[in-house]
Symmetry: C2
Subunit: 208 residues, 2 copies
């Protein structure tokens, strides 16, 4: 077993070279428009399934880029996703990231109405000024809620990153999101996570 | 496609039932002592590989449980892992979680010495009072550093959760950690992540 005596600043570059060479060996060619995003998902998870399951609605990436450049808000469903997003880079564009899941009023309202906190969190995001991008890595109910609020013309997100992970309503929530016609980036199937939601935002940020 | 009309509080229970039934279908029997941890890794990632690759050193779980009950400190290598750990539950035992990666003195020292910030972070943890558990989901260098500091008798961690993810020195760092003889929980191979590090801490917390 040989330990690679690599400089800290070169680890990421080398990692992406390994990912690229393994994709080539498998004969997988990623769409060039999205390869920076898909490769970062593989980098974050060490899971090559992402090469096959990522879905990009037309203009979704452009919508998210524009929202960031116009000082928009990224709304996440978990503090973990918020914490994984490069806030320094985001601030360079005057953009920011918010997460309402821990807010006391959200918890109270969710309990009263018998719905999840993530549902109420998405409603709360509806009152934001400026473009909004949702980055959802955990809660299928957040995706259902976004689609519902969009259909009721209460929100019009510039983009939705829909990558919850799990076993109950996760697959279904992603298909409902795709069918909504919103500008979405989705990882079809069960896989995803707060780390994946954050890394997709970062991939877009780093590619500008 | 049928959406499961399930109450928010029941989603986790149902998820674990699905995981259990799929494991059974595959004929996989998890060691009962560790199944709460392995299943939570699968729950966090939707990746059944964790059923095959998790490694538990003798007494590692007990060491971590004891450290938490004695008001110890969980030290993570990323803010994301810190953010994923249930701090309310941790505080019930008088324990806490720290992450030094963003500290200014760590960044300065790492730059001066030409090492990674995670290396210096682990050194910083050596000065803590009381039992320390490392939860490492990102940086292989953090694992190398822990083993080195242990061999130099500068630290004696109550447990090390070693689950970095990635392509450069990740597999190697985990084997070095296992060979150290420390009380470790490791996911062998490339997979892991900050979310996995956090979920292992939570699995242990929820099982007490």
């Amino acid at each position: 077993m040989k330990i690679d005596n690599i400089k800290p600043g070169e680890i990421e570059k080398r990692s992406f070279e390994i990912i690229e060479s393994e994709l080539q060996r498998e004969g997988i060619i990623l769409p060039s428009k999205y390869e920076h995003i898909i490769k970062r998902c593989i980098h974050t998870s060490a899971d090559f399934d992402y090469a096959k399951t990522m879905y990009f609605a037309k203009d979704a990436v452009e919508g998210i880029v524009e929202a960031i450049r116009n000082g928009g808000t990224i709304v996440t469903d978990t503090k973990m996703a918020k914490s994984g997003i490069n806030k320094k880079k985001l601030e360079e564009y005057g953009a920011r990231v918010e997460c309402y899941i821990g807010d006391e009023d959200v918890a109270t309202e969710a309990k009263e109405r018998g719905v999840t906190r993530s549902y109420v969190s998405m409603e709360k995001a509806a009152s934001l000024k400026g473009p909004v991008v949702f980055a959802i890595g955990n809660a299928p109910t957040a995706l259902f809620s976004i689609v519902e609020l969009f259909k009721e013309k209460k929100i019009k997100p510039a983009g939705v990153i829909g990558v919850p992970v799990g076993f109950v309503n996760v697959v279904e929530s992603k298909e409902v999101l795709i069918d909504s016609g919103l500008p979405v980036i989705v990882n079809r199937g069960r896989k995803g996570g707060s780390n994946i939601a954050a890394c997709i935002v970062n991939a877009i940020l780093y590619n500008q």
